[in-house]
Amino acid sequence: MTKLFTGRFRLYNFIAWFFLIIVIFFWMYPFIWLIFASFKLPLDLFKSGASLLPKAWTIENYQRAWVQAHFSTYFFNSTFYSVSATSLSVLIAGMSGYVLARYQFPGSKLLYGFILAMLFLPAAASAVPVFTLMKNLKLLNTPYSVILAMTGGGGFTTLLFVGYFKNIPHDMYDAAIVDGANFVQQFMLVLPLAKPIIATTVIFTFMSAWNEFFMPLIFTLSTPKLRTLAVGLRAFYGEFSFDWSGFAAATVISVMPIILVFILFQDYFVNGLSGAVKG
């Protein structure tokens, strides 16, 4: 271990640092610029170009974005949609994965085959049929359409749960049955055991729901109060294109919470994402 930071390796370390510090500065520059811009006076920002520090600090931009531009509402919406879609997703995939792994019933094999087959089909740009479906169900311009679409088909997450529940030893169920647990109680008993899969599902669904732009955009076109942060930001850009510092503040409001969540739970994110290639 001591060998690691002497001689050759120490030299490597410094060369790499030299390179990485420059790169990471430019990589993070958009964030840094954005944060400083959100504290600048509108006119100051308009003239300041690439420079970072504001001439005078102000938090008026945040007040404007949060109250007048309704980013408090958009923030609530984004969180509400993503959390709802994620909970639905875990519940649905957990339930279906459980019965598909443990029971055979008429149609179960067929369904399993269907899910597998659909995994290999790329989700064709599915916006049009989903849009007409929502339209015919009269769900356009309601929060439900956005939440349902964000939840999605759930084939992949169901398979994750199937794989996990298949490996749970039978003794566990037998013990529960002897204790007189009914169907739902047995399910509630094993669901917490699937914690790693639940974590993966939560991260996948939450990330894709939080990043989803298209569905909320076209489903809430005539209902501004249902906009998500990204959709609201785009509308802001269209309506107040002169208010750069307000836009910067609105953007910081939109991205900072998720960045904090990411920094806190980075390991879960990384594990969740690497699941895609570990297979």
Binding site: F5, G49, A50, M95, A124, A230, V255, I258, F262, V277
Partner: protein, 320 residues
């Protein structure tokens, strides 16, 4: 009589119990599977079926099918130069984007997994951060930074006298495409670094120790051990990269809106424009476009799948 009843009844009771328990179980199974079936049909099956149906029909503004039109939607696609340009742009984006993001993320993943590098977590976090920002917001942030009037990048270039007047980074087709490609790399690079890091972790430590004893240097370890071992995973990563590239949309909408004119249209943007920005919406043509392109993507996946199995077989034959 009563004695006989008592003799039979325990067995029958058990039979009954098993039978009814089995039936209750079955009912519960269907209750548990029902929500999934509903969502699966609505958001996985229906989009595919619906796209096929719509692509052969004329759909009215209410989303209801008017009439069957045969291949008319497809023929009008092929005579639409905007669609052809969208396809070319999408393929261009996917190719160049993949060519940049995969090697770059591999390089950074290797660098940031070296034991001798201090502060790895800090640098990793930095590169991963853009990942959690929605693509649309990434696009809007860069709209500001790249703005020709007073954006940060132009101001920087002007100060250094690298350019004499501001560049409009989305002012023409190829420059616009390159801008979208580079912004996309910024947003997504972390994800591919995570993929590569997962692949690198799968290489057993003992192999390196053995190589060190044989006197291999860092470069030899990389080219002779690491890269060959992670090759099967590399094909999966390549596949993920290509599929991800083919679906580019958010950045196009926020950076260029397909402009100037329709010069930077990509396929998903074309679909969006035909279905949701014109009145009456043209669902038929939009669906034909997504079906055609979906099929093309499927072919890419099939070819990719062949290579994955092929390389896995190679690994299997040579043992690893």
């Amino acid at each position: 009589m009563s004695i006989e009843m008592e003799k039979i009844s325990p067995l029958r009771r058990i039979m009954q119990l098993i039978f009814t328990r089995r039936r209750t179980e079955m009912i519960w199974c269907y209750i548990f599977i029902f929500p999934f079936v509903l969502f699966f049909c609505a958001f996985t099956i229906w989009p595919i079926v619906g796209t096929v149906i719509y692509s052969f029909t004329h759909v009215n503004g209410a989303g209801l099918i008017d009439q069957f039109v045969g291949f008319k939607n497809y023929t009008s696609l092929f005579s639409d130069s905007t669609f052809l340009r969208s396809v070319v742009n999408t393929v261009f984006f996917t190719t160049v984007n993949t060519l940049i993001k995969l090697p770059l993320s591999l390089f950074l993943a290797i660098l940031l997994t070296r034991h001798w590098l201090k502060g790895r977590t800090f640098f990793r976090t930095g590169f991963f951060l853009p990942l959690v920002i929605p693509g649309a917001i990434v696009g809007m942030i860069f709209t500001f930074i790249l703005n020709p009037a007073n954006g940060a990048l132009n101001a920087f270039l002007l100060q250094l006298n690298l350019v004499s007047r501001p560049i409009n980074f989305v002012g023409s087709r190829w420059l616009g495409m390159f801008t979208i490609i580079l912004v996309s790399v910024w947003g997504i690079l972390g994800q591919y670094m995570i993929y590569w890091m997962a692949a690198l972790q799968s290489v057993p430590e003992e192999v390196y120790e053995a190589a060190e004893i044989d006197g291999a240097n860092e470069w030899q370890k990389l080219t002779l051990i690491t890269l060959p071992i992670i090759r099967p995973v590399a094909t999966i990563i390549l596949f993920l990269g290509l599929v991800n590239g083919l679906r580019v949309f958010d950045l196009v909408l926020t950076l260029t809106s397909g402009g100037p004119g329709s010069q930077t249209y990509v396929v998903d943007y074309y679909i969006y424009a035909r279905a949701f920005t014109v009145t009456p919406p043209n669902y038929g043509v939009a669906s034909a476009a997504s079906l055609l392109f979906g099929t093309a993507a499927l072919i890419v996946i099939a070819i990719q799948g062949y290579f994955v199995t092929h390389s896995q077989r190679t690994i299997h034959e040579y043992g690893s």
